[in-house]
Structures are given as C-alpha cells and as structure tokens.
Amino acid sequence: MSSDLIFKSAAELAALLEAKEVSSVELARAFIARTRAIDGKVRAFNSFDEADALAQARASDARRAAGQARGVLDGIPVGIKDVIAVAGQPLTASSRMLANFVSPYDATVTRKLKDAGAIPWGRLNMDEFAMGSSTENSAFHPTCNPWDLKRVPGGSSGGAAAAIAAGETPLALGSDTGGSIRQPAAFCNIVGFKPTYGLVSRYGLIAFASSLDQIGPLARTVEGAALLLAVIAGHDPLDSTSFSTPIPDYRAELKRRRGPWKLGVPREYFSAGLDAEVDGAVKAAIEFYRESGCEIREVSLPLAADYAIAVYYIIATAEASSNLARYDGIRYGHRSKEATDAIDLYFKSRAEGFGAEVKRRIILGTHVLSSGYYDAYYLRAQKVRTLIRNDFMRAFQEVDALLAPVSPTAAFQQGEKSSDPLAMYLSDIYTISLNLAGLPGMSIPCGFTTGGLPIGLQIIGQPYQEAGLLAIAHAYEQGHDWHTRHPSL
C-alpha cells in the first residue's frame, strides 16, 4: 500500500482521504518512511519534524471524522523549501548564516496551508539564499537528482523537486527568482509553477530579489499544482507588492477550458546552445498542440534572448546586496566570536556566515549600485528590463501563451558548472526573462533524453492568466504519460 501511495498525485490522495480509504496519519507515515528509506541517497531534506507532521495529520483525521474537513488539501503533506517561514521550525536558507535560526512566525503561505488543513512539513534543501541553479551552493550538502544520483536536481528549489520525484512528498512549495522552481522541476520530471509577480504573498519568504521573487507550487501533476496554487494565491495586506485580483477555481478552470489556443514559439530560444534532444522533445510538444488544433505562430523576443541574463545579474544582485544587509550578526543569525567591535562584528559574521556564491553576488550587487556605476549598470538594466517586458507584451497581442524549453540541457553532472559562475548563469537563459517581466510560467514533463534524463516544456502565460496557463498544460499532460514515470531508487 505504501509504495502505491507515495507516487500518487495530490488529487488521487485527496480522493482517497475523502472516501476514507486512507487516513492522513497513514499518508504522513508513508511519506516519512519513504524519506527515511532513501533520503540518505537523495538528500532532499535539511531536516524534518516527524512528531509535528504526525500531530498535524492526527488533527486532520479528527476534523474529517467530525465532518469538518477544510477543503481538498486537508490532510495532505506539503514539503517546504527551507526559505519559507514555518513557526517553530528551522529557517536556514541552507546557509551557515541561519543554521541555528528557528522561525518565530508563519509565512502567509504557511498560514494559508494550515487554514486549508494541509500539512506543511520538512525543510527542503536549496542553493544558499536561493542563489544558484543546481543546489550545489547549499552550505550543508548537495541534493542528488533521483533520476541519476551523480547529477544535480537543478536549483535553487532542488530539494523540493527531488523530494517529489523520489516519492518523499506529494506536493511542495518552492521559490522562483530566475527559474528556481521551473528548472529543477524540468530536471526531475515534475510540474513546477511560478505565478505572476504579486499573485502570492512574499511575507515570510526570505528575500533574495524583491522585485523578482515568487513562491510557487511543485507537484506530480498540473492538477496538483492548481490545487496548491488555489490555497496560496491571493492578496495579502502584509505584502505591499501583492496584487488584488479575484482567484478563480483553478482546478475547475483547467478542466473546463479546452482550447484550442494560439501559441507562440519564440524563435530566438531555439538556436545554438540548445541540446538537440531537448530541442527535439520541445518541438514534439509543439507538434502535439498543432495537431490538437492550436494555431502555432513564431514570435520574436530579441531583447529577452540577448540581454535578459545581463539585466538579471545586475538587478537581482543589486536587490540581493540590499536584502542581505540585514545579516549582521546582531539580532539573529551567525555572530562571529572573533570580533573586536560592532563594525568588525559585521565584517566577520558575514564573512563566516555566507558562502562563496552569496559573497560574489553581494559584491557584484554592491558594485553596480555604487556611486559612479549606478547609472551605467543598474539604471541601464532597469531600462532594458522595460524593453524585455515590452517584447513579451507585444507577443501576447498575437498569442495566448508561449512554448519554450526550460533549460538548454537536461540535468548536468555535479561539479560540471560549479567552478565557472558565468557558465552557470548562462544556463538560466530561458527562465530568467519571465521574472524580469513578472509573468507566470511553468514547467511540465515532456520527454526524456536517450540517457534517461527528464526534459521539461516551459509554458509562459500572460499576467494573471494562471487559469489559462494551467489549462494549456493540462491539455498536454492528458495526452502523454511522462509524468507517471518515476525513478527507481
């Protein structure tokens, strides 16, 4: 029974719970047992609190027995990337700076999960402070791709993606600043969804780049992502960047909307540097939509393709240098024992607490904001950002959504890119531009390489059109079974 449960979709588990064929405690036990059995190899988790997860599960079963289940996700475990606050649980951002930090409060998304009866559990590994594309920048340990343990799961939400792929949790919350949900989802054969900027509250998300960060769902299926998105989306007075917009019933919408749609294919995204097998799988997906009656149009995003990475590594690092200034060894976080006075305390605590990639990005961000460089770098990048956004808005005048690769390659080997920061940055080429433009985007499984590595299809939507995006993805998923495969571990 256990081995059946761990690879079921969230919707299937919800149906079993509702039919009382399984209890929430049995579910929690199954996922905890699976995690104990294989996480020694996968290393998706930084930690998990078994007693707390079981207590939440017992409370869910009691509610259900009293006829008071709170909703579809009542009783379903949701793994949490170690960057989102859960009161009483560690909140480390996979950094030595916060290795002993315990969150005193719930993020808004955490509160919403609990209000819906879902069970936030576990602290999932990530690149330190969400800076990275492989989870190799975790200060604690790397996470291994369940499809090939010598390869990376992607990043920065690598732990979340690997945990779902390995059957350790059915759902997870991650964060995406430049592709950090979508790329690991693609590398691990699962669904990863980044909402429109402002749809989901950032209150309780450790800030990396405030104009780019979004929390989003990871799941085995599009429907699972829709169910989780419905719980976490919505305006939050505690986040002044959150948007007021009615939240549709995403699950109902993805079943109701059948297409056909007008889909754009950005010509610049299919050029040199894209692995031939990834190109083949994504093109096959485009053909599926064409054969289903969709109109496929070539569109052009010239500035996005050429300049998005340069713009991102100015804006994101600038914002990060500001956001990470709070880690000074004073009120919380690592405090150096070597310091002579308060200022020295800042220098040494930060040097000891931050890893190399974090330091690199703080330095770059500080540089591009500094006097004499601000106009040439930061201000210029903000202007090119406007032009990149305009590229997308122009395309959306002709099409409903865009189809593209997620990453130029499938999962790479551990260590392959970690010594060349620029090479790592360049691998974000297809995901980064959405964060700059604030658009929603998702990755769904669309095939495997001959070596057995997953390939993801990226679907990019119009602002606040999550329902349409989910429906387009669901249509593909209904016609394929890539997402039903799981690695043998």
């Binding site: 002579t340 500094s370 920061p421």
Partner: protein, 96 residues
Amino acid sequence: MASPPDINIDYVANLARLALTDQEKEIFSRQLGDVLRYIEKLGEVDVSQVEPTAHAFPVSNVWADDVPQPSLPVEVALKNAPVQRDNMVVVPVVVE
C-alpha cells in the same frame, strides 16, 4: 558604456561589510571580471527613450490604516538573539 575597470574589490567589500581573504579577493575579482565583461553587452541597447522598470506591475502607494496590531512578544522576538539580557540584545561596544 565605458569598458569595465576591474572591480575595486577592497572598496566594494568594505561597503558590503564583508571581510575577504586575499585568495577570495583574487578569485572573485577574476570571476566577477568575467561577468562584468559579459554584462558590457547592455551597452549595445538604445535606451534613450525608455523609462526604467523597478518592478513588473503598476502597484504603488499601497496604504494601510494606522491601526495598532499585536506584534511578536519580546521573548519570541529575542529567541534567535546570539546574546541577550534584560529584554535587550547584547552587542559589542558601538560608541566609546
């Protein structure tokens, strides 16, 4: 856009309150030099008539009513403080 002088890593690390080893300074200067050279390509773009985008969507002047709400109790707020005494965070000397 002028060609990038190398980052004055001592100056920037000082601004960022980061104590770097000599080895780190050398490695980071080189790696970030590569990144800055890559970023130079932004100089190709004509931005003469373009407004900057600080954030993607036009949400601004978000007001909240000035109504007192409960905040974190002191013990909770200080739970992660490295050293504390009498409801205060103890720090090294700031002002002589």
